[in-house]
């Protein structure tokens, strides 16, 4: 059976129907479908006007997206690391990788401890997808950073950091009771600030 002419699924539940025929399709189709799903979620998370239903789409969490962005960021920064830092490439890779996953874990745990009732992986998924702007700025700085003075490099860093923070803050703030909002939001802020700082420095 040939699925290449099918219309693109409009939402995740339509994609579910296709899953039963996984074993009969080629590997490239499976991968393309997963990539389309990641791209769909990414658009949903990062472009505010797509979110009309207050994050319900995030119930279909997945960790592939966050893993891809985490690996991309860690690899970008470690490729550049050799010439610009005293640490080796593997140090940089390890620090970034651990920082992203442990950071997402701790920020989610913090929201839960403050009384937020959210599924753990839903929140880790969101935080992982919002790392994408940091990826963009890391790539920009990796390619043109050596020609620019420090102050000019700050501009894309600040824009991408603001984008990441703004995308995830709405979701995190809605999880906790109103008088604890800032306590839940500040760690998210710190998390993306840390990652932005690394993409600037390395």
């Amino acid at each position: 059976m040939d699925y290449t002419n099918q219309k693109n699924p409009q939402n995740y539940s339509q994609m579910e129907d296709l899953k039963t025929l996984d074993l009969e399709e080629s590997v490239s189709e499976t991968i393309m479908r997963d990539l389309k799903m990641i791209a769909y979620k990414l658009k949903y998370v990062l472009i505010p006007k797509e979110q009309e239903d207050n994050g319900k789409e995030l119930r279909n969490w997945d960790l592939w997206g966050p893993l891809i962005f985490c690996l991309a960021l860690a690899m970008t920064l470690s490729f550049k690391a050799d010439s610009t830092t005293n640490s080796s490439k593997s140090d940089v890779f390890a620090i970034i990788f651990v920082l992203i996953w442990v950071g997402a874990f701790v920020v989610t745990l913090n929201a839960q401890l403050l009384g937020g009732k959210v599924s753990f992986f839903q929140s880790v998924c969101l935080l992982g997808y919002c790392v994408f702007p940091i990826n963009i700025e890391a790539i920009i700085i990796a390619f043109v950073g050596s020609y620019l003075p420090f102050v000019v490099k700050l501009i894309p860093v600040i824009i991408c950091f603001a984008w990441s923070a703004y995308s995830s803050v709405g979701f995190m703030a809605s999880l906790v009771p109103p008088h604890k909002k800032k306590l839940a939001v500040y760690p998210v802020f710190l998390f993306y600030l840390f990652l932005s700082w690394f993409s600037l420095i390395v």
Binding site: T85, N86, G115, K182, L183, L190, L193, V202
Partner: protein, 235 residues
């Protein structure tokens, strides 16, 4: 109804009561069971603060001569402060140490990033390890202070390091030693004055043991801070 089955259901009901007590989702109920401290619900009562509370507590640490802090937190020790003040410090140490290394003339700027794991280990061991050990020693010597109150006290005493880290940006060695000394004095005073009320109930030798532990750990923290993180000076 068969009596055999009824007896079984009674026993089953009693057996079911215990797990349902453990699975109670109220934030106010204390958990029972051997591994209760591994659940999220065990720690929820310690995050019962608002942002104004946290700011008030941090302000309290900068004025060590007024022993209000322990009264502020006695009923409601929180863990949010200790965890996130230390996380902020880790970021600041990395950022300020890197900013000190900026040298516009060098072509290939090299920044150190190995401070992240070092700072994490140092700060979290001192901010959480020391109060746990101290609270155990104090309980052994008869002081009535819970683990969480000590952790809260120690965690907030780290907030003295926040402005100090920012000031460590400057390159002047004498200035750095001065502010490190000020930080050490401030946080040690803060800890000792707040513990004083509890410690006065003890004999002299026991009091000095505890004061000795506190001062030694603070001294090692501040020395480590200065010698490892901020000793690089541009020529």
């Amino acid at each position: 109804m068969d009596f055999g089955i009824q007896n079984q259901t009674d026993e089953q009901q009693q057996a079911n009561k215990e797990p349902s007590n453990q699975n109670g989702n109220e934030g106010n109920k204390k958990q029972t069971g051997c591994c209760a401290f591994l659940t999220v619900e065990f720690y929820t009562p310690y995050f019962n603060v608002t942002e104004t509370d946290v700011l008030q507590r941090i302000q309290g640490t900068f004025l060590p001569l007024r022993p209000d802090f322990l009264n502020l937190i006695r009923g409601n020790p929180d863990l949010w402060g200790p965890i996130w003040i230390n996380a902020t410090l880790i970021f600041m140490i990395t950022a300020i140490a890197n900013l000190r290394q900026i040298d516009e003339e060098k072509e290939n700027q090299s920044f150190v990033i190995s401070y992240v794991p070092q700072a994490t280990a140092l700060l979290y061991i001192i901010a959480f390890g020391t109060p746990i050990v101290l609270a155990a020693v104090m309980k052994f010597l008869g002081v009535d202070l819970s683990f969480f109150q000590t952790i809260c006290l120690y965690g907030y005493s780290m907030s003295t390091l926040l402005p100090i880290t920012i000031l460590c940006y400057f390159q002047n060695e004498l200035f750095l030693w001065l502010i490190i000394a000020y930080g050490f004095a401030n946080s040690s005073l803060f800890l000792i004055i707040n513990l004083k009320e509890e410690l006065d109930k003890l004999q002299i030798q026991k009091k000095y043991i505890i004061i000795g532990i506190v001062v030694t750990m603070q001294l090692s923290l501040y020395l480590f801070y200065k010698l490892v993180f901020f000793s690089y000076v541009k020529e």
